[in-house]
Assembly symmetry: C2
Homo-oligomer: 128 residues x 2
DNA sequence: TGAACATATTCGCCAAAGCAGATATTATGC
DNA sequence: GCATAATATCTGCTTTGGCGAATATGTTCA
């Protein structure tokens, strides 16, 4: 369902024309703690897959998939060298994005941490 | 919540001091198409809950929860007026964040859309 | 008081997606 | 060729979380 030119008013800043689902997917890639940690590790510099495995402590398969996901989304780029595969951040704006999110999140840390609408209400529901 | 294994990475550009899980949560809030659409709608200006319901076409309960979630995360702020509740974007940096993500996502639109690691590879998946 | 309205919360259902472990692929060396 | 190492993909299992519908809370007015 394409709704053409909804308002055209006060939002020259955002397209609204392009796919919201795609951008949501883009955000969702960083919505997982493991991937975000991987990305931050790579913001530190180029690292091989096994470096990443050692750093975050997940299974090799999981890490490989996470890195591939970050690469698909354009956050990082892979460089093959023999049997090794090195990943590095693909665009300097990625650091900007993360820093901006950090700043915003920090300004609302308390409420964010308490937000039960994301991440489950509690271990188990016990009505009172 | 799981233990966020205390990354000892050397990351001068990013705070690193604060919890990765919290920032991931922050990103995750925009990782849902419905919430992202709501946020974009609010970037257009202040709107009531029922305005939002009419705009995105989800159930009233869902919209209310999504808005509360965005508020918890600090993206928007609520203003009560009688029976109505108006939501508006809480910080100008939110627009920056979304625009930056849009720009990055646009530069990698093809691969991002094709990324099956998020959103399902599946036999025959179908998306709205 | 109660009815009508706007919003918030709860409930069961089910798809999306994280995880480890097994396996497949590719590259190097013997 | 075979063995080994580094990475990629597949297979189940389990949790997270979005959804509508029902319900609860709160507000205004008669």
């Amino acid at each position: 369902m394409s709704k053409t030119a909804r308002t055209a008013s006060v939002t020259p800043l955002l397209g609204e024309g392009d796919d919201v689902g795609t951008v949501a997917k883009f955000f969702r890639a960083l919505g997982d703690p493991s991937r975000l940690r991987l990305l931050e590790f790579l913001l530190d510099g180029e690292h091989s897959v096994s470096d990443c495995v050692a750093h975050i402590g997940l299974s090799q398969g999981r890490v490989s998939t996470h890195l591939a996901c970050l690469a698909d989304c354009g956050y990082v780029r892979a460089r093959r060298e023999g049997r090794w595969c090195y990943y590095r951040v693909a665009d300097p704006r990625v650091a900007e994005l993360v820093m901006l999110a950090r700043a915003l999140a920090a300004d609302n840390g308390a409420a964010l941490a308490a937000c039960e609408r994301i991440d489950g209400p509690e271990p188990h529901r016990d009505r009172a």
